[in-house]
Amino acid sequence: MPETNSGPAILVEGLTKSFGDVHALRGIDLVVPRGTVLGVLGPNGAGKTTAVRILTTLLLPDKGRALVEGRDVVREAAAVRRSIGLSGQSAAIQEELTGRENLEIVGRLHHLGKAEARIRASDLLQQFDLIDAADRYAKTYSGGMQRRLDLAASLVGRPQVLFLDEPTTGLDPRSRLGMWDIIRSLVAGGTTLLLTTQYLDEADELADEIVVIDHGLVIAAGTAEELKSRVGGDVLEFTVPDRDRITDAVAAIALVGESEPHADKETGIVSVGVGGRGSDALVDGVRSLDAAGVATKGLALRRPSLDDVFLALTGHAAEEEEQRVRRGRSRQKRAAATNGARNKAGKDVS
């Protein structure tokens, strides 16, 4: 069947999915060429996980079609499952079993022979730096180790297309960097990867192409550089302790910025894109605010974050969006982990 070996690894056309009143996907299109990495960027509740679940045959779409390695995820689901690997938001491993047992059982369920499953498990434990912990129960593993084991499990069947749904959510910064290294080496081996993430820097590091999803729609697509250029380079951000002076602060900083300033009335945080002017903009900003007589705290220059991309693309912050969606949904999702990670991203000062 030569036709299955031409064309993109993933092709999605007009995909929609609703859960009652919640329109998780409202018609998205994606094309992922073989051997490339697509980063799907968006806040919680944007529809990322729904898209992954449809592409991995876990969920039926309402409308549209999706092909993985040329196979329809609805009509040829069994064939699709033979060519994919999935690692979700939480570690889908059996904690009462050892790392080795986990992988061997997955191997057996991929219909490898006993000996082959054992060899495959050992290879993967080696590759993922888990060989020393191979015969310990997985519940004794750290969060990062559990995620590595989970990723290893998704690779047992040597998938051509790998889906990673927020692979680093909830991980500490060090484990996160370790995960990035592993993902890079997988991609170097020619695996096609679809990666969802809430972090611009993660998509930036790993993806060839990025799509931004909001409200179940693709609102932007391009390389990380292209997306960042929409923000207008670096961001100058500060807090105005006296909420009554926010309007004055916005007026003062608008003189310095290269994009419309954004002010959050509740937190008193004001941000503005300053392009590539770096420390000049910082100095100008301080002067301008000083001239207006506005007291500020924590004035700093930082790289654009997902929130900034969202602001530039949609005019609202990702977080506001997320809260709105979450209120509309019955299932709460990892709020603590997400907020912690976002705070970290927010402090990312350059």
Binding site: T4, T56, Q89, A92
Partner: protein
């Protein structure tokens, strides 16, 4: 495609029904093995499935036994009690089924398995096979404890084996309901709190522990017409002898009915699980 496939793990595009049948069996066995390994390693599960039924036997035998009269039962209350407690043991063993499935669903284990090229039925069948084996072990332990406290099979070996099988059949039927509940509720704590709370009235408001004639009239109406009573009555006849009444076919109709209704429901809940 043949020219490009070099890995040994590659499988034919459309496996024949025979190959798929073989996979369904081997996948079920792999899941069964996994579930049994987990069971052996969690002390809480062992307590739940072994110690708790033993406590029930001792409590009913020695605390309530003296106060409950069972006229016409050869060997007295302990012989009356044991078939009932064995049935209850088999039914309660299915708590583990519901909780484990809800847990796997929550943790994403079921998503992982469903995205793999394994037989989709195997997660359910492997769970039920493992839990049935677990149930059998528990039932045999309870029979042993029963013997230690004075229980005797009065009707020969073959009916005794049938009695155990009857208990297992009840357990498997309830296991399927539990599988459905666990997957449909999908939240471990909710399942623990009220997923199987109905098992208490079902087993206690039956002929399992006391003669139904000792209950108030309105309760008798329920107790006389529910499956656990039919099953326990049948088991009692098998264990102690006596005429096989209508309870045998009524039990079978109930249990087959439960499987016919909840089997497809459990499969549906599994397919839709998210």
């Amino acid at each position: 495609m043949t020219a490009t496939v070099v890995t040994t793990t590659a499988v034919p595009d459309n496996p024949s029904p025979l190959v798929r049948g073989r996979w369904a069996v081997s996948d079920t066995l792999a899941i069964t093995r996994r579930n049994l390994l987990v069971w052996f390693r969690v002390p809480a599960y062992i307590v739940f499935t072994v110690i708790q039924p033993v406590i029930f036997v001792l409590m009913f035998r020695y605390v309530f036994g003296g106060a409950i009269s069972v006229p016409g039962i050869k060997g007295g209350y302990v012989n009356f009690l044991m078939p009932g407690i064995i049935a209850q043991t088999a039914a309660f063993a299915t708590f583990g089924t519901a909780i484990a499935l809800a847990q796997e669903l929550q943790k994403g284990v079921i998503d992982r398995l469903r995205s793999m090229p394994m037989a989709r039925s195997a997660v359910l069948t492997g769970r039920i096979v493992a839990d049935t084996l677990r149930m059998l072990v528990t039932v045999l332990i309870v029979v042993g404890v029963g013997y230690a406290v004075g229980f005797r099979f009065e009707n020969g070996v073959f009916p005794a084996i049938l009695m155990v099988l009857m208990a297992i059949f009840l357990g498997v039927s309830i296991c399927v309901i539990a599988a459905f509940t666990g997957l449909a509720i999908g939240d471990e704590e909710s399942v623990q709190a009220f997923g199987l709370i109905w098992l208490f009235p079902l087993t206690f408001l039956s002929s399992a522990f006391v003669p139904i004639v000792s209950m108030p009239g309105w309760l008798q109406a329920f107790a006389n017409n529910q499956p656990v009573t039919y099953v326990v009555d049948t088991m009692r006849v098998l264990a102690l002898g006596g005429p096989v009444t209508t309870s045998l076919w009524k039990s079978l109709v109930w249990l087959i009915g439960i499987l016919a209704v909840f089997g497809p429901l459990a499969v549906r809940a599994y397919k839709r699980a998210s």
